[in-house]
């Protein structure tokens, strides 16, 4: 089983790259006949990824959520799976390559550095931890997709303003749709991150004796949560829209990314207390 895990670990970035290539080719060419082909590629990649996660969970007796490289592979699948659903539901074309590229990057980093961890602390096998981490990851996936749509909004906004009617103009959906997709992704991300924070506040102090509310991860996540909270409330109240709203989603994403890099790579752990 372990050798199968190792093989799929190598194959996954290749599959994501192939899927990305098909999506990118479709973006350039805009051929109608490629719609189903690219979806098949994405489906096969997601299916392979799911098998990989199940195999890892069974083989190492814990879900792959105990360190940053395990978490990256979960991020890769949640981002692409969320996009897969968006594409099926909305039938929106042209945004796939910009999202799948993120899955490819996350999976590539994960595949390069992930290790076969059999021994993990008992506390990391807890179901509550699983729910906390999975909901936090869904939150971050939502924010990632929201930021991508926000970024595409800005690019298209600028292209239309400057009379640049090239590939971006021809392939992307309209501005209103991009804004809506960015908002919906942000709302879903906000809700799931709220769940992660609530579980964290209740469970973490009990599970970890060294728990501190001044943990950098908690502070930055709270900042990200507040930023998105302000943005979504402003949109609901009708004060913010368009460019201002997408700038906020991008800022929220950048804060989230920077906080992850700082707390995970510099501190070499997910929270400072374990």
């Amino acid at each position: 089983m372990v050798s199968a895990i190792h093989t799929i670990n190598i194959l996954l970035p290749v599959f994501y790259l192939l899927t990305l290539a098909v999506y990118f080719y479709d973006f350039i060419k805009g051929e109608k006949k490629l719609i189903n082909v690219k979806r098949v590629f994405l489906f096969i990649t997601l299916f392979l990824h799911l098998i990989y996660i199940v195999l890892r969970t069974v083989a190492f007796d814990h879900p792959p959520i105990t360190n940053v490289f395990e978490i990256f592979t979960i991020l890769a699948i949640t981002i692409s799976f969320s996009y897969f659903l968006v594409e099926l539901v909305s039938d929106i074309r042209g945004t796939g390559p910009f999202i799948i590229v993120l899955s490819f990057i996350f999976q590539l980093i994960s595949s390069l550095f992930i290790q076969d961890l059999v021994e993990v602390k008992d506390v990391l096998r807890s179901n509550l931890l699983g729910t906390h981490v999975i909901s936090a990851l869904l939150g971050y996936s939502g924010f990632t997709i929201s930021a991508v749509y926000g970024f595409l909004y800005l690019v298209l906004y600028k292209d239309i303003k400057l009379n640049r009617f090239g590939l971006i103009f021809n392939r992307l959906p309209n501005l209103e749709m991009l804004e809506r997709l960015s908002l919906y992704s942000a709302v879903i991300g906000f809700i799931t991150l709220t769940i992660a924070i609530i579980i964290g506040i209740i469970w973490l102090p009990v599970a970890f004796p060294n728990f501190s509310f001044f943990d950098p991860k908690i502070i930055t996540t709270s900042l990200v949560w507040v930023l998105y909270g302000i943005g979504i409330t402003s949109k609901v109240l009708g004060n913010w829209r368009g460019k201002r709203l997408v700038l906020l989603t991008i800022s929220g994403f950048l804060v989230a990314i920077i906080s992850t890099i700082l707390s995970n790579f510099l501190a070499q752990s997910f929270h400072s207390f374990y």
Binding site: I160, K161, N163, F165, F169, P173, N174, G238, R241
Partner: protein, 426 residues
């Protein structure tokens, strides 16, 4: 194949000459009557703002294009029209030209699918006046199939190729549902009217028009079920609209940057689309610098139009391939109308039926009688086919689209002989 065609079109004649020879529907009907009496057995008249074309099967084999031209010029006298303004086609070239027209590659705006509908309308008139005979039906079917394939299999009709339509398509790149948006058209001249109709066609939520001459605005508003705003008051209400399309002949700026700024403020930064398709411009171009404002003028919209035209032109080889395929299919069918292959197919069919029945029943006869059965049934088939064979051979040497070809076509249809040919591409 004896099919003639003459065409005066946007490549051969200026607009005033094309206008002079334009045939309205009633005129086309009268002209068909005249043509049937004098020159043509069957045919098709296609008349649009860009072309007047006559396709026909001559009543006599010596008929020349010149005669059809003369008939048209006598029917619709037009000064300054001469021989050079007509293109002439014969046989396969005539069919190919009709296919080129139906697919839109011969149009002034390449890929214009309006002409596809006009070809259909022309055929409708030909049918109503009994001008569309056996061959024209078949030619028309093939032309329509070529036109449909060009639209569905290529991108020949994709994208806006007029400034008015480009303006409307650009709004669709900003708003997702036009049925929830409102638009104001300033100026109800030809350009404004076309833009208003495009918006109405796209299902705009609410439409308002304003014009210096109030009556003109009212007339268009009535046609499109739109509101009318008095020209002197429209500036105060621009903030109520998501889309403003301005196409007046005013020599001064009608909407200043400050007007736009105020409107954006009142709209709480909702996107505000300003399409200035007037020359000279109606809206201060500095407005484009404002956030949430999408300002476009003729120059920027022309960029879209030119890009789309270039893309459409790149699709022409694909359409030409479709035309060639349809032309070959048509020609295969036409060739099957020659007597010799038709007689051969007919005889083969009868022989197939005969031998099948003989095989099924020969066991009911003694071995001596089986041979007789074979001989007798063959004789019966020969006798049945004798007269039709003589009749078909009579006209075997006649060329062109004559009665013999019609007879062969009918025989093929009646006995299902057409099914032996390659199936048509749908």
């Amino acid at each position: 194949m004896n099919l003639l065609a003459i065409s005066i079109n946007h490549r051969t004649a200026p607009v005033e000459l094309r206008e002079a020879l334009f045939l309205k529907k009633d005129e086309a009907r009268s002209f068909i009557k005249l043509a049937k009496e004098n020159l043509l057995k069957e045919g098709l008249i296609l008349s649009t703002c860009n072309r007047t074309e006559i396709f026909g099967v001559p009543a006599t084999s010596d008929l020349k294009h010149q005669k059809i031209q003369e008939l048209l010029l006598n029917f619709k006298p037009a000064q300054n029209v001469n021989e050079d303004h007509f293109q002439k086609y014969f046989s396969r070239d005539a069919v190919k030209h009709l296919f080129s027209v139906a697919t839109g590659i011969d149009s002034l705006l390449v890929g214009d699918n309006q002409v596809f509908k006009q070809v259909k309308d022309s055929f409708q008139i030909a049918e109503e006046t009994n001008f569309a005979g056996y061959f024209m039906h078949r030619i028309f079917d093939s032309a329509i199939r070529a036109g449909k394939r060009a639209i569905s299999e290529t991108k020949i009709s994709d994208g806006a190729v007029t400034v008015s339509y480009a303006a409307v398509q650009l709004t669709e790149k900003i708003f997702s549902k036009l049925n929830k948006k409102s638009a104001l058209i300033i100026g109800t001249g030809e350009t404004g009217e076309i833009a208003a109709k495009h918006l109405a066609g796209k299902g705009i939520g609410s439409l308002a028009v304003t014009n210096r001459t109030h009556e003109k605005a009212e007339k268009l508003a009535e046609e499109l079920n739109a509101k009318v705003i008095p020209f002197l008051e429209f500036k105060e209400s621009i903030f109520n609209f998501d889309i403003i399309i301005s196409a007046t002949s005013s020599h001064e700026i009608l909407i200043s940057k400050d007007d736009v700024k105020q409107a954006v403020k009142k709209r709480s930064n909702e996107p505000f689309i300003l399409m200035d398709i007037a020359i000279p411009r109606d809206i201060d171009p500095e407005s484009k610098k404002l956030d949430h404002v999408f300002y476009h003028d003729m120059d920027s919209l022309n960029v879209i139009v030119q890009q789309n035209l270039t893309k459409r032109k790149a699709e022409i080889p694909k359409v030409e391939k479709i035309i060639e395929e349809e032309l070959n299919n048509f020609w295969e069918w036409y060739n099957s109308l020659q007597a010799a292959p038709a007689i051969k197919d007919l005889r083969e069919l009868f022989e197939e039926i005969r031998s099948e029945e003989v095989d099924k029943n020969k066991n009911k006869f003694s071995s001596d009688d089986q041979e007789k059965l074979d001989i007798i049934t063959k004789r019966i088939i020969n006798k049945i086919l004798h007269h039709p064979t003589i009749e078909l051979r009579k006209n075997d040497n006649a060329s062109g689209l004559g009665d013999a070809s019609s007879k062969i076509g009918i025989i093929r249809d009646l006995f299902g002989l057409s099914s032996k040919q390659k199936p048509d591409k749908k």
